[in-house]
């Protein structure tokens, strides 16, 4: 019978004290091959400090070959799940990356980056006036491809515009050089449903990519409004202009109740920074394209100020565009 005293080392390895002498030899063989375990001297010193006062009650002379040691295995890599199609013979769980990807609604084709160049209006054949935003696709090329084997999803990375090489960091210069592409001003990723949506690296995306009459989703960073008051930010009505209202015509008024809850609730709409958020406009219609200038005219407004980059891709909520 072994009276074993369970103790834990700094690394969390659980060993029994009665096996000190016998396990030393075995442990030394383990430590030689595993770097995450404490060194033998560390192990010995940690052991002896705990046992200065207390004498060992019994010592077993047997050598236990089946030592139950729970050695924590350090996680390798970044720890994210990797989808490997070779492992699919197992039934796919509902809560797994594979099934999540199959449920995800994604467009079939890749999108592109365009630069917002203002608004104007055009007339259609019936004489109806359509307000349009002018989007310029300026030297948009595919710079990288993401696949399910390496990255866990399918995506096309697009770079647009042009930037002087002296203003581009070396890592990015190397990235563009590898893609056989000039240094770009802006780079963005577009997720696609499967391999059919992937485009070859350095392939140029032009205005021909879109068709007149198709619907697109456009997303961009909205115009910043700075620190804006509650009337602009949340549409509060403010207070009356007269009838004794003093100094608080545009204020929020009350911010809560009385003793209960006795505090202002979290998420209370108040003044603060407005704008500069990512905004998506869905189902915008492509009214006209001018491939000779790389221009795409899209109905209605588009988030963001003039001359900034926006991302366009086929609308999620509309049928797939057939090329």
């Amino acid at each position: 019978m072994i009276v074993s005293r369970v103790m834990s080392t700094q690394r969390g390895a659980v060993l029994s004290s009665a096996l000190f002498i016998s396990s030393r030899r075995i442990f030394s063989t383990i430590t030689s091959s595993r770097r995450d375990l404490p060194s033998l001297s560390e192990f010995v010193s940690s052991f002896t400090t705990h046992h200065i006062e207390e004498p060992v009650t019994t010592i077993s002379t047997e050598v236990h070959t089946n030592i139950t040691t729970t050695i924590p295995i350090a996680p390798t890599g970044s720890g994210h799940h990797r989808l490997r199609r070779a492992e699919l013979p197992l039934p796919v769980l509902f809560d797994s990356p594979q099934s999540a990807l199959s449920r995800k609604q994604l467009p079939k084709r890749a999108g592109t980056i365009a630069f917002k160049r203002g608004m104007m209006s055009i007339f259609d054949e019936n004489g109806v006036r359509i307000p349009v935003t002018i989007l310029q696709i300026d030297r948009a090329q595919v710079t990288y491809i993401k696949t399910i084997d390496q990255h866990g999803y399918f995506a096309v990375q697009v770079g647009a515009g042009a930037r002087h090489a002296k203003n581009v960091t070396k890592p990015m210069l190397g990235h563009f050089s590898k893609a056989c592409v000039a240094p770009k001003k802006i780079v963005a990723e577009f997720r696609v449903r499967d391999e059919s949506g992937l485009l070859p690296i350095s392939h140029e995306i032009t205005a021909h990519h879109f068709k007149e009459g198709q619907f697109v989703d456009i997303w961009a960073r909205s115009k910043g409004k700075g620190f804006s008051g509650v009337m602009k930010r949340h549409g509060f009505s403010g207070l009356p202009a007269s009838h004794g209202v003093s100094v608080s015509h545009r204020s929020a008024g009350s911010t809560g109740q009385s003793q209960d809850p006795g505090r202002v609730l979290k998420g209370k709409k108040m003044a603060g920074r407005m704008g500069g958020d990512n905004v998506t406009v869905q189902n915008a219609k492509v009214v006209k394209i001018y491939p000779e200038f790389g221009l795409v005219l899209v109905k209605g407004p588009v988030p963001g100020p003039k001359y900034t980059a926006v991302s366009i891709q086929d609308a999620l909520k509309k049928p797939d565009v057939v090329e």
Binding site: G118, G127, D138, Y290, F293, L295
Partner: protein, 184 residues
């Protein structure tokens, strides 16, 4: 120092001979190297040479430099929508045939029945392709105002009927509208 790969046995030579020759070449390389180290007096740099990054030049932009796409498109569309240029002649301030507020004008539309509207010009809003004209008329004792987009494809023609009796002292003749206080 890694050994070089053993070459395949050449016809006529035995395997043993080729092995020996490979070993000899390996040994000789090692000796040469060691001699080089002795002569140099320092350790040879085994790192691979830094490959310079190949930077590509960007292609030209499709838009001419310094041009605004809005201007380009407006020029293009103006030539398409108004090839003869009669709209420009009627609504450009400097033109000799220019319409003025107070003139009476007939608009003919592109409908099957060639629908028309006759009225006094109350206001001319000049915005390039978005230029519009506000016409006022009395139709069966009812005042009717109509805003017409000049470059719209639904507008067929503008016919000039009569000049203003007296030159209007302002550009926008909203005073032609009846006073609301006075009642009907």
């Amino acid at each position: 120092m890694s050994l070089p790969l053993l070459r395949l046995p050449v016809r006529g030579c035995s395997v043993a001979e080729t092995c020996l020759s490979a070993l000899r070449s390996a040994i000789s390389m090692t000796l040469e190297d060691s001699r080089r180290v002795q002569n140099a007096g320092y350790q040879l740099n085994r790192k691979p040479a830094k490959v310079p990054i190949k930077i590509l030049q960007p292609g030209p932009s499709l838009l001419p430099k310094g041009s605004e796409p809005k201007q380009l498109l407006e020029q293009k569309l103006t030539s398409e929508l108004d090839p003869t240029g009669w709209r420009q002649q009627l609504f450009q301030r400097s033109s000799p045939l220019a319409l003025r507020p107070g003139d009476v004008v007939r608009v003919v539309f592109n409908s099957e029945t060639n629908q028309t509207f006759v009225g006094t010009i109350m206001a001319i809003r000049r915005r390039g392709l978005d230029t519009s004209v506000r016409l006022r008329s009395e139709v069966a004792q009812l005042g009717v105002e109509m805003s017409v987009k000049v470059y719209s494809t639904s507008v067929k023609n503008f016919e000039f009927i009569s000049r203003a009796v007296k030159k209007a002292r302002r550009a926008k003749l909203y005073y032609l509208r009846p006073d609301e206080k006075k009642g009907k």
